[in-house]
C-alpha cells in the first residue's frame, strides 16, 4: 500500500464502505468483491440499483462484469498502460477537474509528460482492448460526481503493483475524487485484520500508526515508553527474510498465525528456506503445512475465545469478544509473546488485551481515541486521535494526510517480470473464491463448504482448451518453470485466450508451487497475478 502513502500520505481505503451507496460511478479495478469481499459486493449491487454505473476492469468475466456498463477484459500485467491511457483521454478531452488539480495537487506537468504518450490507439494492443472501449471508460469515470475506485489484489499483486496503485491515485486526483464523500481510492484488504497488522506496526519500517523507524523522535519516544534500546535500522520484509535465510544471515524465525507454506509464492523456495533456518517457531490454532517444518509449535486461541480488536478495510476498529473457552492449554497470542518477552528480561506487564489497547492508544496518534469502553458503544474509523474525536469516515477532506497538496506520481508501463515463453505460453493468474479463505485450514472444516468447493481447479478459455486437447472436467497438469500441480479443468468463456486462472486456497494443488518469487520492488508484494505456465492433460 506504499503507492497510496506516497501520493496521498496514507495507504488505507479513503472512504467508508457505506459511502459506496452514494457513488454515481464505481470503477472496480482488479477486484472481485462478490467473491472476495461478499458483503461489499452486495453493497455495490445495492448502489447499482440506486443508479450507480459500474465499470469493471478485470482479465476475467467476474460476476459484476455482467452488471457493468463496460467491462475491460484487460490483459494481466498491463494495468499501468491502461490507467495512463484513461488519463490521456481525460486530459485530451478536457474532462478533468481543473479547479481541483490547480488547488489541491502538484506534479500535473510531469503527469502529462508521461501519459501523453499513452493514446488509446497505442495502448489498445498492449492491453488487448479496443481503443474505443478505453475512451468510453475514461468518459464514464470522469462523468461520475462522485466516482469511487475500488481495487484489490489484481492491482497490487504485480511486480509493478506500486506503480499501478499510484496510477489509480493519479486517475482519482485528476477527476477531483479524493477527499470527497462517496468518491475516493479504496483498496479492499484481504485478510480480516491485515489493515490492523499494518496499523500495529507489523512492518519492518514502521512502528504502530506508521511512525517511522527512521525518525529519531519516534525511536526516542518508544525507547522511553518501553524502557529498552531500539534499532533505527529498517528491518527486512518477509520476502527479504527468505533471501536472508538463504544467505545464512537469518537463523531464527518466529511465525505467528500464518501459513506461508500455502499462501506464499514459489513454495519450493519457501519450503527450502523454512527447512534451512536453524530455529523455527510457529504459533497457530491448527497443525498445517508450515508447522510441519517447525521446531516448536505453540497453540494459540482463535477469535471466538479472546478479547481484542480487528481493524477492517475501511479503518474501522471493532471488538472481538470471548464467546467460548479456549481448547486445552492454548493461550492468547499476545499472552504467549508476553511470556517469551518476560523470559528475555523484557517486561511489559500486560494482564489483559484491554491494557494492550490502552498502550496502543497512548503511543499511536491515529488510535489515540480508542478504548474498550468506547468501542463497546461506537466503532469510529481512524484517524481518531482523542477520546472526543468522532473518527474519520472520509480521508483527505480539505487537506491531504501528506500535506496541503497530493502529488501526481506518473509511471511508465513495464511488462510483468515473467512473460510467457514458447514452453510456457500461457499467463497464469491467481485469486480467491467465495467459499474459502486463504489456506483452507478454517473453511475446510465446514462440510457444506467442501461439498461445494472441495478441490483445486483451473479455469481455461475454450480456445486454449481445444489447443491443449482438454475438456471441461478433465484432470490436468498445470506447470510453470518452478513446478507442476494437478487440478480439474473448468473450460469457460470467462477468460480470454492466453490466460488461465486458479484460486489459491487448497494445499493439494496449491497454485503457489507455480508462482514466481518476483516482487514489487517497493512493497515486496509478490507477483501472484502473472506467471508463465502451460496446461496439459494429466
Amino acid at each position: 500500500m506504499a503507492g497510496l502513502a506516497t501520493t496521498l500520505g496514507s495507504g488505507a481505503m479513503t472512504n467508508a464502505i457505506g459511502e459506496l451507496l452514494g457513488a454515481e460511478v464505481i470503477l472496480i479495478f482488479g477486484s472481485n468483491p462478490t467473491e472476495a469481499h461478499p458483503v461489499i459486493g452486495a453493497q455495490i449491487r445495492q448502489a447499482r440499483k440506486r443508479g450507480a454505473k459500474l465499470i469493471v476492469v478485470d482479465p476475467r468475466v467476474i460476476d459484476l462484469a455482467h452488471e457493468a456498463e463496460i467491462h475491460l477484459k484487460v490483459k494481466p500485467g498491463t494495468n499501468v498502460a491502461l490507467l495512463n491511457a484513461l488519463m490521456n483521454v481525460i486530459i485530451t478531452e478536457d474532462l478533468l477537474d481543473k479547479e481541483y488539480v490547480e488547488n489541491r495537487t502538484e506534479g500535473f506537468d510531469e503527469l502529462w509528460s508521461v501519459v501523453k504518450g499513452y493514446t488509446p490507439e497505442k495502448v489498445g494492443p498492449i492491453c488487448n482492448l479496443d481503443p474505443e472501449d478505453i475512451k468510453a471508460v475514461a468518459r464514464l469515470y470522469a462523468s461520475g460526481d462522485p466516482a469511487s475506485i475500488v481495487y484489490c489484489l489484481g492491482v497490487t499483486e504485480h511486480s509493478t503493483g506500486t506503480t499501478g496503485v499510484m496510477s489509480i491515485a493519479n486517475l482519482a486526483l485528476l477527476c477531483g475524487n479524493v477527499g470527497k464523500v462517496s468518491g475516493g481510492v479504496n483498496p479492499l484488504r484481504g485478510q480480516n485484520n491485515v489493515q490492523g497488522a499494518c496499523d500495529m506496526g507489523a512492518m519492518p519500517t514502521d512502528f504502530s500508526g506508521y511512525q517511522k523507524v527512521a525518525n529519531p523522535e519516534v525511536i526516542a519516544k518508544f525507547e522511553k515508553a518501553w524502557g529498552v534500546e531500539l534499532s533505527n535500522k529498517p528491518g527486512l520484509t518477509s520476502p527479504q527474510v527468505f533471501d536472508a535465510i538463504a544467505e545464512g544471515d537469518i537463523r531464527f524465525l518466529y511465525i505467528m498465525g500464518e501459513n506461508p507454506m500455502v499462501t506464499d509464492p514459489n513454495l519450493h523456495f519457501v519450503e527450502e528456506m523454512l527447512k534451512k533456518v536453524e530455529f523455527l517457531v510457529v504459533q497457530d490454532i491448527f497443525l498445517n503445512e508450515t508447522t510441519e517444518l517447525a521446531d516448536v509449535v505453540l497453540p494459540a486461541t482463535c477469535f471466538a475465545e479472546k478479547e481484542g480488536t480487528f481493524t477492517n478495510t475501511e479503518r474501522r476498529v471493532q471488538r472481538i469478544r470471548k464467546a467460548v473457552s479456549a481448547p486445552g492449554e492454548s493461550r492468547h497470542d499476545w499472552e504467549i509473546v508476553s511470556q517469551v518477552m518476560e523470559r528475555l528480561g523484557l517486561k511489559n506487564n500486560f494482564t489483559s488485551a484491554k491494557e494492550v489497547m490502552d498502550e496502543v492508544a497512548s503511543l499511536t496518534p491515529s488510535y489515540g481515541g480508542y478504548s474498550y469502553e468506547r468501542l463497546d458503544r461506537e466503532q469510529p474509523q481512524w484517524p481518531c486521535p482523542d477520546k472526543d474525536h468522532p473518527g474519520t469516515p472520509t480521508l483527505h477532506v480539505g487537506k491531504f494526510a501528506r500535506g496541503e497538496r497530493a502529488i501526481f506520481k506518473p509511471s511508465e508501463y513495464k511488462p510483468s517480470a515473467e512473460l510467457p515463453t514458447e514452453d510456457f505460453p500461457l499467463i497464469l493468474s491467481t485469486g480467491r473464491m467465495l467459499y474459502h479463505y486463504h489456506s483452507t485450514t478454517m473453511t475446510g472444516r465446514t462440510e457444506g463448504i467442501m461439498n461445494i468447493a472441495g478441490e483445486a481447479y483451473v479455469e481455461i478459455s475454450p480456445e486454449d482448451a481445444i489447443k491443449a486437447g482438454i475438456a471441461d472436467g478433465d484432470r490436468v497438469k498445470v506447470s510453470s518453470p518452478r513446478g507442476e500441480i494437478e487440478a480439474t479443468a473448468r473450460v469457460t468463456e470467462k477468460l480470454s485466450k492466453g490466460v488461465i486462472y486458479m484460486p489459491m486456497h487448497w494445499p493439494d494443488g496449491a497454485v503457489n508451487w507455480l508462482t514466481s518469487s518476483h516482487v514489487d520492488p517497493i512493497t515486496h508484494t509478490p507477483e501472484y497475478k502473472v506467471c508463465a505456465a502451460k496446461v496439459a492433460k494429466a
Partner: protein, 347 residues
C-alpha cells in the same frame, strides 16, 4: 422537528420518522412481521397497527410518518382484536406442528400467538405448497411454515442483491420460490443465509438450528474473522460450543453476512485444534509443557542474538490475529533489537 405524543409520552422526532421508529425511541415495543431495517417499508402484514387520533382507520406504524401534533395510542381493545385476527389468519395457513420445528423459541408467529391469546384458528385453509427443499448444504426451506412476509425475498433481492427468491402464485396459493422452480442447490443462490436470518418463522432454518433452542444459547457480539469487510455478528453458544451465527447491524455489513461468516464456524470447535505446545524431538513434534516450550524459544532467541546479533532474528505477525496480538509481537521483536518484523506474504 415534530412533536408527537405516544401513549401519553411526548417525544421530538425528525421529519420523516415513522411511528414505529418513534416508538422504538421511547422503548415502546410494537409487533412487526414484514418490517425490515435498511429497506423501504413493506406495509403488508399489518401487525404493527396503531391508533392515531383523528384518523378513522388503524394505521400501520412501520410506514406512517409522524406529523407535528400527532397523538398515538399503541394498545387498546380495538388494536388487540385487530392484531389477534391477523395472527389467526396467518395460523390458518401455517403448519402448526411446533414440536417438530427448529424455530421454536425464535418464531415471531408463535410469540404473537401467545401474546394475543390465539390458540387455534377459526379460519380453515389447507395451503397447497411445494414440498420441502432441503437441498442446500446449510439450510432448509419448508413452505408450509411461510407466512408470506416477503422478508426473505426482499433481503435476497434488495440487500444481498442476488435475485434468487421471488413470490409465485399457483391456484389460489402464493409461496416463495426460486426461478424455474429450481432447488436451492441448483440455483444461483450463494448460500449467504441472509434470507434465513430474517425469516420470522420456521420456513427458512439453518440445518444446525436443529441442535439448539433459542433459549439455550447465549449470544456474543463479535467481528467476523474471515475477510477485511469486518462484518458484525453474534456467536450463538450452547454448552461452550459455537452452534450458530447471526448477522448484526454493524456499520460495514448492516445485517448481512456471507457464507463464510454465517456458516464456516466449525473450525472453532474442531477436534483438530492444537491444545498443547509441541517441541520437535528426534524429528517428531512431541507434546511439551508451556514452561519447557517457552524456555526453549527464549533460550534460542538469546543464543542467536548473542552469537549473531539481533538482526539474525526475524518474526512474521499476521493479518489474521488481533491488533493486540500484532502490537505485542512487534514490541517483542523491536525490543529484542531488530526491526525484522513483517506480516506474511503482504497480502
Amino acid at each position: 422537528m415534530h412533536n408527537v405524543i405516544i401513549d401519553g409520552q411526548s417525544i421530538e422526532v425528525e421529519k420523516g420518522t415513522t411511528i414505529l421508529k418513534a416508538c422504538e425511541q421511547l422503548g415502546i415495543e410494537i409487533p412487526t412481521l414484514c418490517h425490515l431495517e435498511h429497506l423501504a417499508p413493506e406495509g403488508s402484514c399489518r401487525m404493527c397497527v396503531v391508533e392515531v387520533e383523528g384518523v378513522q382507520n388503524l394505521q400501520i406504524s412501520c410506514a406512517t410518518p409522524c406529523w407535528d401534533g400527532m397523538v398515538v395510542t399503541t394498545m387498546n381493545d380495538r388494536i388487540r382484536t385487530f392484531r389477534s385476527m391477523i395472527v389467526e389468519l396467518l395460523l390458518a395457513h401455517h403448519d402448526v406442528d411446533c414440536f417438530n420445528c427448529s424455530a421454536v423459541g425464535d418464531c415471531k408467529l408463535y410469540q404473537y400467538a401467545m401474546e394475543y391469546g390465539v390458540e387455534e384458528s377459526r379460519f380453515d385453509h389447507i395451503k397447497k405448497v411445494p414440498v420441502k427443499d432441503e437441498s442446500s448444504d446449510f439450510f432448509n426451506y419448508d413452505p408450509s411454515k411461510c407466512i408470506l412476509c416477503r422478508r426473505c425475498v426482499r433481503t435476497c433481492n434488495e440487500l444481498q442483491s442476488n435475485g434468487t427468491l421471488s413470490l409465485k402464485k399457483r391456484g389460489g396459493d402464493t409461496f416463495v420460490s426460486l426461478p424455474f422452480d429450481k432447488l436451492f442447490k441448483d440455483s444461483n443462490c450463494v448460500s449467504c443465509g441472509n434470507c434465513v436470518s430474517v425469516c420470522p418463522t420456521g420456513a427458512l432454518t439453518t440445518k444446525a438450528s436443529k441442535t439448539y433452542r433459542s433459549w439455550e444459547v447465549t449470544r456474543t457480539r463479535t467481528t467476523c474473522s474471515y475477510c477485511g469487510v469486518g462484518c458484525q455478528m453474534d456467536l450463538l453458544v450452547k454448552n461452550d460450543k459455537v452452534v450458530g451465527v447471526e448477522p448484526a447491524d454493524g456499520a460495514p455489513n448492516k445485517n448481512l453476512l456471507c457464507v463464510k461468516g454465517k456458516f464456516a464456524y466449525n473450525f472453532i470447535n474442531s477436534p483438530d485444534r492444537l491444545t498443547t505446545p509441541l517441541i520437535r524431538k528426534d524429528g517428531v513434534l512431541t507434546p511439551a509443557s508451556w514452561d519447557e516450550a517457552l524456555d526453549f524459544v527464549a533460550d534460542n532467541i538469546k543464543k542467536v542474538k548473542d552469537e549473531s546479533g539481533p538482526d539474525a532474528l526475524a518474526g512474521f505477525a499476521s493479518g489474521r490475529v488481533s491488533n493486540e496480538d500484532n502490537y505485542v509481537f512487534m514490541k517483542m521483536m523491536r525490543s529484542i533489537g531488530t526491526n525484522n518484523v513483517d506480516h506474511c506474504a503482504r497480502v
